[in-house]
Symmetry: C2
Subunit: 431 residues, 2 copies
């Protein structure tokens, strides 16, 4: 316990402007049981009672409600109780009831995922498409079709879709469901939630939207390396450079939803101009296009391919055989990342940095120079230096995070509200 | 309500690893009553019941306990109840019971403050001293004498000191009470809490230490402009450049206690070398020494004076009469600040920036260029641009924040624990 931890107590009281009452207790305890079960492969009622310090009677009542709502499932009790205890079933998350649908519209691909309550991805589809060309309405039509396909496949597997979460490559006004600015797509102030919800009106599903880098950071938290990474900044190399910040297990969105836009940290004030109006931003110095160009690769703009192969595969092959130009290109990117990450570490002091997107497969060549750069500029002289991890989910992090966000909200929202499974905190035209 | 707000519910349940029980309810509600009273000039029991949605009986019981502990005081009831209501007194924070002592050891001054429960500063003393020269033990002796003087003055005013909070110019390991690194003082790994607590052993007061920029950010939150600034980054120009980050009304300390060390954001990778090992750090480009030198002022290193006047006063006079060299110097500093603040805004997306330390009196010359620089590089194209405020507390922010931290912890800690007024979460030798 430290002084500042302690301050949280009063601040928490201030944040909840009303008193705690018995109904709040039950909601809190429902969520608590769900969390403990989520973190396990299955728990008995007795184990839950011990973990939560609630009575077995209370646990039984909470479990009954959660089973009835389709959140928990109970395995058949063993015929003989272990060690003479009375026979009791294991409570686990119900992987065969509800699901969430994640859909990602990115600059050069479209992807869709279906996640069940256990966080398992039950369906996944990704297709390369240059979404910068062609009309926006066509892109949204295609996204809606992908959601519709995913919902049909989920239903045929007995899963009930609870909502749709859309990942887009730019900051989102979450309350209004508006993608504010995605320079990569040349989209500005697009009401993406309404656009998608209108196209899916017959499904009756709530829709939300969020920046893909934020969803990727959450994806790593729930499904990837984030759960053991402490506070971290997720850094994603794609067409630009994006990022998401996790502090105390929660996403830091910022006042306008644009926290984590690390692609616009200035690496060199005399560098090339950036779409944001600055010069020498990280995205210009370390994004995918710059990296490929420095390595002498000139992929087709639409397909990101070089002679029929993905440019990234070609770059990895060059690095594997020690190609000097490729090694120098990655070194330059690592140098730019090192400067920006030192700024991030000095500002936020996270436990970890997670390298995602194309930086994940490139991490064997990136981590060494980055660690060196951070070490050179560590104001604490090497005390507990920040850990650098490679993403486990790679390019799927955002869409998997999006699908999982729906089921996480379903579970927390449904115990927070007393109404059924529809989640009123998901923004969207269907509310 | 947004999607990510909503996630906090499950995360909160996860953070508190046990269930909520009736005793927790009472602690929560005690803290809640204190918060409501703190935010007011005085409230009746009926007003408190309405604000908290608790019954009047519960409010009376909570109020009785808080009066008994010396936290609240009740004014005499009006002889006639207003509007026919039964007569009832107003409950307010008791400004005449406990107090906190803040002490700041900075590079070129020593300051001490005494704050009462109402957040009023009851005693304040600051003296210019070059704490880089002379032995560390002498500096700590002088700080202990200042605390002793403050405690004596507080006692003679009927205030009971509850603890001592030490502000130092560098990141602190709060749990161990160690100042890890203060390049400005050339202090490394100094157990400042034990050193100060040993010197004050007879007073029997708990002691904590924290980075002065973090305490200044909290000072602005509690006593200055921070309470209406939303999420903000406090930026302090002194011998170096320091900072503190407030998100959701709480300090972001980081994994090692060094969050907010914005003095080491790289402004120009080809700039002059910095003590941190980097080049062109903000502290080098925009700190007090650089500013004075650029303005043609060469203050005495020990006293920061030019011909018997504080260098800052001389600089302000030069700016006032339109001295070109001074104006250019401030412009250069504003340019460097603009680059670093754009990085901060893109990374954290705060509602506000608060300019503190010497930047507060210089803000008339700084804010224009900073706003322009941020606008040029705003990834959201001017939507709700970040607000730039000037600190209300100036150089006193840290020591006032330190003194107030003690009374804030006393109030939240004392209702969190069931034991009396001593606060076991303050680190220190007296525990």
């Amino acid at each position: 316990m430290t002084g500042s931890d302690h301050l949280a107590f009063t601040d928490e009281a201030a944040a909840s402007s009303r008193a705690v009452r018995p109904a709040d207790l039950r909601r809190h305890n429902l969520a608590l049981v769900l969390r403990h079960v989520s973190a396990s492969e299955g728990l008995t009622r007795a184990e839950l009672a011990r973990l939560t310090a609630l009575t077995k009677g209370t646990i039984s009542s909470l479990a009954e409600e959660l089973i009835e709502r389709g959140f928990l499932v109970e395995s058949a009790p063993e015929p003989q109780g272990r060690l003479g205890r009375p026979p009791t079933g294991l409570l686990a998350l119900n992987g065969d009831s509800h699901c969430g649908i994640g859909i990602e519209i990115n600059i050069d691909y479209l992807a869709v995922s279906v996640a069940d309550l256990r966080g398992r991805i039950r369906f996944h589809m990704a297709e390369g498409r240059d979404n910068r060309i062609g009309r926006r309405t066509k892109v949204l039509d295609r996204a809606a079709r992908a959601v519709r396909d995913a919902a049909r496949i989920a239903s045929s597997a007995g899963l009930q879709p609870a909502g749709v979460s859309l990942a887009v490559p730019g900051p989102v006004d979450v309350e209004r469901g508006i993608l504010m600015r995605a320079p990569g797509l040349a989209w500005t102030d697009v009401p993406v939630v309404d656009e998608l919800a209108d196209r899916l009106a017959d499904l009756g599903l709530p829709v939300l939207a969020e920046n893909e880098a934020n969803l990727a950071a959450l994806g790593e938290l729930w499904l990837g390396i984030g759960s053991t990474a402490g506070d971290y900044v997720y850094v994603s190399g794609e067409s630009g450079v994006g990022g998401g910040i996790i502090v105390d297990g929660a996403l830091v969105r910022g006042s306008r939803g644009s926290a984590g836009e690390i692609g616009h940290i200035v690496v060199d004030p005399n560098g090339p101009p950036c779409t944001c109006g600055g010069r020498g931003c990280l995205g210009q110095m370390a994004g995918q296009e710059t990296l490929f160009r420095l390595a002498g690769l000139e992929p087709d703009q639409a397909t990101r391919q070089v002679a029929g192969e993905p440019a990234l595969d070609e770059l990895l092959a060059m690095l594997g055989r020690g190609d000097l130009q490729a090694l120098e290109a990655v070194d330059k990117v690592a140098h730019a990342l090192g400067i920006a990450l030192a700024d991030i570490v000095n500002l936020l002091d996270p436990d970890s940095i997670i390298l995602g997107g194309i930086y994940a497969p490139l991490s064997p060549w990136l981590i060494g120079p980055i660690v060196e750069s951070l070490g050179r500029q560590d104001i604490l002289g090497g005390r507990n230096p920040v850990a650098i991890h490679s993403s486990l989910l790679g390019a799927d992090a955002a869409v998997r995070g999006a699908a999982t966000l729906v089921v996480k909200q379903l579970m927390s929202g449904s115990v927070a509200e007393t109404q059924g499974a529809v989640q009123p905190h998901l923004a969207g035209g269907q509310m």
